[in-house]
């Protein structure tokens, strides 16, 4: 039954409807793939096989009756460990959450279960989603199923949603949930040959997702194809009264329009993205992407987003500032671990020293510093003003173009330890993705080619607020031109 794991989400859905196989068979095939391969990849931090089979059985019953099946009925998915799952350990891959078992379900995952989806387990990520290589996880790093041609060196799967990207690329789930604060869906998707969409801020409810930087965090899917992303997003998105920043807007049937083509679509190419640090291959692929869009009938326009270079430094003020307040809740009192000290304050300090990893501490300290007395105006307020200018750049661009095309990352997947020595070097991984979070826009990464090392590279499309439909349609035209990129033969077991 292993070939069942090779199906896309949409193919599996159609197969279930045609009764070519059952959800139990489909789920079992994925559980076997996890059993065999997870030790090699470390994508799942908590497989939930018994729960998965129970859900699959219930789905098979609903599939047998006319009109009872949901949009994702019987389809096995992986869930990033940042989403609270009722009764199932949720840690954000931090020691500080210890054995936390939420008494509630995140709205996004609740939407998935209501649509009939099957949970295979919880997926690894960088601790509190802070990282671009999955190396900061308390559960250890995830290994990218891709390798450099002819080599066996282990490569990073990107981050923070590295468990999600690796699991999808290695067929350990049909699709996965992920979150994106500065690039955490799109960068790992690019590094693993998968599709990742970060919707407009407010499109998906943040309720029940472990908070990192609340004004930037947004949930989205990582999938094998653009069509699968459309299917997943439709179910994940929607207004939620429990998140006051979630937007009360209709969620279109994205899948219905992905094949509408890009004839007449105006595609913007921002000149400020041609940075020195970009690999030749990424630059070449970008030109290729422009040519593909043109061939498909789109028109190409050079645009200027003059404040691009300031997005990343402004992000590294805003995100740590918000993180330092969000993570204040981990005090060893209400949930998670406690390391007793000589008094209450000492207990807080000991607990947080033992529970947080180095990168999380670094960001909390930066955030505390920029918010501390006398520095607020110089850092946080300044960064929020720069953010207004970054959004203004895009607002102007939307008069001329419908989508913006850029590379997702400056270079392909790197090896372990290659960027851990210097935090700034790691932060540059998000240079092309972070502007999108700062402006609250939707962005998608689509696999577009392979590097000379034989590892995947992605192209990013950025869209107008709440225009994910156009974004997915444009992404489909790139996928049509580029084809799909499958990870090498299963070396991981």
């Amino acid at each position: 039954m292993t070939e069942l794991t090779k199906l896309t989400l949409a193919q599996a859905r159609d197969g279930l409807k045609k009764k070519a196989f059952t959800s139990v068979e489909l789920t079992q095939a994925h559980l076997e793939a996890i059993e065999a391969g997870n030790a090699g990849l470390n994508a799942y931090v908590l497989p939930t096989p018994e729960h998965a089979l129970e859900l699959a059985k219930a789905s098979d019953k609903r599939l047998a009756k006319k009109g009872k099946a949901g949009d994702l009925e019987g389809l096995p998915l992986g869930i990033k460990d940042l989403f609270c799952t009722q009764g199932f350990r949720t840690t954000a891959c931090s020691n500080i959450l210890d054995d936390f078992k939420p008494a509630y379900e995140s709205t996004v995952t609740e939407n998935l279960w209501k649509a009939g989806a099957v949970m295979l387990g919880k997926l690894n990520n960088d601790e509190f989603a802070m990282g671009s290589s999955n190396e900061t996880s308390a559960f250890g790093p995830v290994i990218n199923p891709w390798r450099r041609q002819g080599k066996t060196d282990k490569l990073v799967p990107g981050g923070s949603s590295g468990g999600s990207s690796a699991a999808v690329a290695a067929d350990l789930c049909l699709a996965a949930t992920a979150t994106d604060t500065g690039g955490s869906i799109r960068q790992p998707a690019a590094l693993t040959g998968t599709v990742g969409i970060k919707p407009t801020y407010g499109r998906c409810s943040r309720w029940g997702i472990v908070a990192f930087a609340s004004s930037l965090d947004q949930a989205g899917p990582i999938t094998k194809t653009v069509r699968d992303a459309a299917v997943m997003l439709k179910v994940m998105a929607g207004h939620d009264h429990k998140d006051s920043t979630s937007v009360d807007a209709d969620v279109p049937d994205y899948e219905a329009t992905i094949r509408d083509g890009v004839k007449g679509l105006r595609v913007g190419v921002p000149k400020e993205y041609r940075i020195d640090g970009m690999s030749k291959e990424a630059a070449k692929l970008w030109d290729q992407g422009i040519a593909w869009m043109k061939d498909a009938g789109a028109t190409i326009h050079e645009i200027s987003l003059p404040h691009t270079k300031y997005a990343l430094p402004a992000y590294y003020i805003i995100a740590p500032a918000e993180a330092s307040s969000n993570l204040a809740r981990y005090d060893g009192v209400r949930y998670g671990m406690r390391k007793p000290g000589k008094d209450l304050i000492d207990t807080y300090e000991e607990t947080r020293a033992a529970g947080f990893g180095a990168e999380v501490k670094r960001r909390i300290l930066i955030g505390t510093y920029v918010l501390s007395a006398g520095y607020y105006d110089a850092y946080y307020l300044k960064a929020q003003k720069v953010r207004t200018l970054i959004k203004g750049d895009f607002d102007k661009a939307w008069d001329k173009v419908d989508v913006v095309l850029t590379p997702t990352t400056p270079s392909p997947a790197f090896a372990f330890g290659e960027k851990t020595g210097d935090p700034l070097q790691m932060y540059l991984e998000d240079i092309f993705t972070v502007t999108v979070n700062m402006a609250g826009l939707p962005g998608i990464s689509v696999p577009a080619g392979l590097s000379s090392e034989g590892t995947p590279l992605g192209l990013q499309l950025i869209g107008k607020p709440f225009d994910e439909a156009t974004l997915l349609r444009a992404a489909q035209s790139i996928e049509d031109a580029a084809g799909r990129f499958n990870a090498p033969d299963r070396w991981w077991g």
Partner: protein
């Protein structure tokens, strides 16, 4: 912006994170280089620019002022490292 070791310790205290001497020394360099790097924002003219307060221009929704949840003390303390009679237990604060 150079952050000295005393400042690192003060910030760590504010953040309620205990740090060792070795960590304090390492963080001195790391935080300084990150703060140096963000200094480039000074190049940007932000005169008469409003700080962003929300990325999507919507007004916050109001809901009925009614109780929608509650009576769940046992569920709330279920994950606490230490609890007693549905209360969180902490080290003695008041002598």
């Amino acid at each position: 912006m150079h952050v000295d070791e005393a400042t690192v310790r003060r910030i760590a205290r504010l953040a309620r994170i205990k740090i060792t001497d070795a960590e304090a020394q390492g963080l001195e360099g790391e935080l300084s280089s990150i703060l140096d790097w963000v200094e480039q924002l000074k190049e940007v003219d932000t005169e008469n620019v409003e700080p962003m307060t929300r990325v999507v221009p919507i007004s916050l929704k109001q809901r009925e002022d009614v109780v929608t949840d509650g009576e769940k003390a046992a569920a709330i303390v279920a994950n606490a490292p230490m609890s007693e009679d549905n209360f969180f237990v902490v080290p003695k604060v008041v002598e």
